[in-house]
């Protein structure tokens, strides 16, 4: 079918029967949002295990005091690379994968607005991660100054070896990838929505991704600028972060965290979106407070830009700065609290059932709230002097990432895989995966609160003997958690290959089509969907706000 014919072919739909290309080439040159979504998700799943393997190295080394398995520089490489791989290789791409699959389905669009750029943003991600991973095999090893890449530490030869320029260019490529993905999402939501769907009818997942996309465009260039200055300071004699030349290393911290704080919300806002999608379906009720959810998301996004220096309370800021960043940070608890109460109120008196996606979502609400509370503790500047750079921080952000973002990604997998593939996953193994995960994740991270409060610093391969017991418990939890995720891998593969074999209805979940458009489409989904936009859209999710 020539493209030129396409243009004149307004009445006839036959070119949409166009199936995928044959063979491996299909995946390289595809412009189909479902194919690209699949690529993103599989890539993210792979990186989840790569980053996970690094975490296993870390927990093995920390199982006992003393140096057991790896040398300290490699240990530091592992903490640095674990963070970079998980943030930029696993969690962010996984959510972009979900966005690719779900946004067009949920808004009645036939595909993403800019399909060729969609292909490019995926391959840029792969290129960026390849550059980053290549440093593992280099003289001097992978970067080991921490994922924040603070100067002057990261500019010292012993810290980076030959890795620094590769890491920096990797950040540039990942930034380009994210910005292209974000632009595509914004153009799709604004321009490809079914005419019947107003902005305040959009599913929460679409809303949260729209706001996340703005965050991405606003902060990825900031990170790119920061690492560019690292590059010129290292190789081109500039003095941005060199006090002798009139610069200031603290400036890097400000720029990094101006990116870094919105960045952590980039990972949590789509999490909120998926939770707000799943909970109403299994509570068999409309989402409580739809409009307040939208406004809370926007408020959190706005606040994320004006709180960055709470990551640097101990760096030596003027007292007015400390106070401002302390109070501004505390305010975030208000819109976040709105969300938690809304999820709880959605479940209140609902006809709840507890399939695997719902179990993961409920665990998310509980455990994310716990991570939020420790965040509130750290927002108090004087207290933060005790927590700063300890395992308390590690425990905090792992609670907001693992039993929050990662759990919700798992939930999303269980929730939508049957729709995408037409096959049902094995509920028994799903629930086993859930219970193993939710118990072991707490064994893994909860003791780290105690370690941090007792004074154990982050990013060290060895520690004083009084920290031995809780570290051993934490490591045991880590090994169980890591092993449990193999169950998820099994379930994903099994479901794609046929699952339980039972027939999956178009709705998959009872009354799901009242909540969102994708459940009105046939199961399994055809290669092209919504070649004609839906005439009406479900409004169950907005009932409470009208």
């Amino acid at each position: 079918m020539s493209a030129a014919e396409d243009a004149h072919d307004h009445h006839d739909d036959h070119h949409h029967d166009h199936g995928p290309e044959k063979g491996l080439l299909r995946w390289i040159i595809t412009t189909n949002h479902k194919d690209i979504g699949t690529l993103y998700l599989l890539f993210a799943l792979t990186m989840f295990f790569v980053g996970g393997a690094m975490a296993m190295v870390i927990r093995a080394e920390l199982f006992e005091p003393g140096l057991q398995f790896v040398d300290p520089a490699f240990f530091n490489s592992m903490t640095t690379m674990h963070a970079l791989v998980m943030v930029f290789g696993a969690v962010m791409p996984a959510f972009v994968g979900l966005a690719n699959w779900q946004i067009p389905l949920m808004i009645g669009a036939t595909d993403m607005a800019l399909p060729r750029m969609n292909n490019m943003s995926f391959w840029m991600l792969v290129a960026g991660v390849l550059l980053l991973a290549s440093t593992l095999f280099m003289e001097g090893g992978a970067p080991n100054g921490g994922w924040t890449l603070y100067p002057p530490l990261v500019l010292q030869p012993i810290t980076v070896g030959k890795a620094l320029p590769f890491a920096i260019f990797s950040v540039h490529l990942l930034g380009i990838s994210s910005i292209m993905g974000a632009i595509n999402i914004i153009a799709t939501i604004f321009n490809m929505r079914a005419p019947a769907m107003k902005l305040m009818d959009m599913p929460l997942f679409v809303w949260t991704w729209l706001i996340t996309a703005f965050l991405l465009i606003a902060v990825m260039p900031v990170f790119a600028g920061a690492v560019t200055m690292l590059l010129t300071d290292k190789f081109f004699h500039t003095s941005f972060f060199n006090a002798a030349g009139g610069g200031d290393p603290v400036l890097y911290e400000h720029i990094f965290w101006f990116f870094g704080h919105p960045e952590v919300y980039i990972m949590i806002l789509p999490t909120f979106g998926v939770a707000s999608t799943i909970i109403p379906v299994f509570a068999r009720k409309p989402l409580f407070g739809y409009a307040s959810m939208v406004w809370a998301t926007a408020s959190i996004a706005f606040l994320s830009f004006i709180v960055w220096a709470h990551h640097m309370f101990t760096v030596g800021m003027p007292i007015a700065g400390e106070l401002y960043f302390m109070y501004a940070t505390m305010i975030i608890a208000v819109p976040t609290g709105v969300k938690v109460f809304n999820w709880t109120a959605t479940m209140w008196k609902g006809a709840m059932t507890f399939e695997t996606p719902m179990l993961f979502s409920i665990a998310f609400v509980v455990l994310f709230t716990l991570g939020g509370f420790t965040g509130l503790m750290m927002s108090i500047a004087p207290s933060d002097f005790q927590y700063h750079d300890t395992y308390f921080i590690v425990a905090h952000f792992h609670y907001t990432l693992v039993p929050a973002s990662v759990f919700i990604l798992m939930a999303a997998g269980y929730f939508w895989l049957p729709k995408w593939t037409g096959n049902m996953y094995n509920e028994k193994i799903g629930q086993l995966h859930f219970w193993l995960s939710v118990i072991s994740v707490n064994i893994l991270f909860f003791p780290q609160h105690f370690l941090g409060l007792a004074g154990m610093p982050r990013r060290i391969p060895d520690y004083a003997v009084q920290f031995a017991d809780w570290n051993m418990i934490s490591s045991v939890g880590g090994f169980i958690f890591g092993a449990s995720q193999l169950l998820f891998l099994y379930i994903v593969i099994d479901t794609i290959r046929g699952g339980t074999g039972e027939k999956v209805s178009d709705e998959v979940w009872e009354d799901a089509s009242k909540h969102s458009l994708e459940w009105t489409l046939p199961t399994p989904l055809p290669y092209h969907t919504w070649t004609t936009p839906p005439a009406s859209v479900p409004t169950e999710h907005v009932l409470d706000s009208h």
Binding site: A3, D6, A7, H10, D13, I28, I29, T31, A109, T110, A113, L114, P115, R116, M117, N119, M120, W123, V126, L130, L131, S134, P165, I168, F169, H172, L173, I179, I183, N184, I186, A187, N191, M192, I217, A218, V219, P221, V222, A224, G225, M229, T232, F235, F236, H237, T238, S239, F240, N242, A243, A244, G245, G246, G247, D248, L251, W530, T531, T532
Partner: protein
């Protein structure tokens, strides 16, 4: 209007992956070059050539598709969204360096000249702008004045904004001569700007002792003006392509996204220069 099938969805794309591979090879080459490896330069060249091939191929394809009427109004809107947010990301990128200049001048340099830092470390340091820091990094230098070439360059870029808009009016009025003349003037003014900037840089390096290594003044000066100059080059190349297409009869008053995108980009570059002229040269 009633179906999504009028929205053109390409069924495959080969250029994105070629461009990505090119860019990755180029950056891997650059990283190797910085590490002192001899394989760096050849890799950079191969990567750059691949990347340029992608640009030529992809944009030719887009131009062909656009001229054959495959893009309806909605496709045009998507492209405009794309360009608008791309420019927004560029603005943020420049904001980082403007922010760096602000922070350095108003916070970190004054801090170096007061309190314990002054008493214990650098009692002789005079914390005034411009400075290359208490370590006098890069040696003696003379700061760049505003009223020579930089002012001339301001006039050039402002005029080019006018000629660009004049060309746009020509396009809307179906006056092809005005469109082409306006674009020629814009491109010429753009490249003249780049030439003058090259002369300015040459003077800085050879006569004023001002280099990228001249402490934080040199760093911020060359980083800001250098990235801007690079954007002027890119903008002028984009406009040259638009000019070439205009001479081939492309664009109509209804369908000229490429022209609009180039013009937006050009105005963005123009506005950034005004910021530079005020904050880097004047203040």
């Amino acid at each position: 209007m009633s179906t999504n099938s009028t929205y053109y969805i390409p069924h495959k794309a080969t250029w994105p992956v070629i461009g990505t591979v090119g860019l990755m090879i180029m950056l891997a080459g650059f990283a190797n070059f910085l590490n002192g490896s001899s394989i760096g330069q050849p890799l950079m060249i191969v990567g750059l050539l691949t990347f340029i091939t992608m640009l030529v191929g992809w944009f030719s394809l887009q131009a062909k598709e656009s001229e054959s009427g495959m893009y309806n109004h909605e496709v045009g809107i998507s492209y405009r969204h794309g360009m608008m947010w791309f420019i927004f990301s560029e603005i943020v990128f420049f904001a980082v360096f403007f922010g760096t200049l602000w922070y350095t001048r108003n916070l970190s340099v004054p801090w170096l000249g007061e309190g314990a830092t002054k008493e214990l470390l650098w009692p002789a340091f005079d914390a005034t702008w411009p400075t290359n820091g208490p370590g006098k990094v890069g040696g003696e230098f003379e700061p760049m004045g505003a009223w020579g070439l930089p002012f001339l360059n301001t006039l050039l870029l402002l005029s080019s904004g006018v000629t660009c808009t004049w060309a746009h009016h020509g396009l809307l009025a179906k006056n092809r001569g005005q469109l082409i003349k306006g674009l020629i003037a814009t491109v010429a003014l753009g490249f003249l700007f780049v030439c003058f900037q090259a002369i300015e840089y040459h003077e800085a390096y050879t006569e004023m002792g001002l280099t990228l290594g001249s402490g934080v003044y040199g760093s911020t000066f060359f980083m800001l003006t250098g990235f801007h100059g690079f954007h002027v080059c890119v903008g002028a190349i984009i406009l040259s392509v638009v000019l070439f297409r205009s001479t081939r009869g492309h664009f109509s008053p209804e369908n000229h996204f490429a022209f609009e995108a180039a013009a937006w980009y050009w105005h963005f570059v123009d506005v950034v220069w005004l910021g530079l002229f005020i904050f880097v040269y004047l203040m």
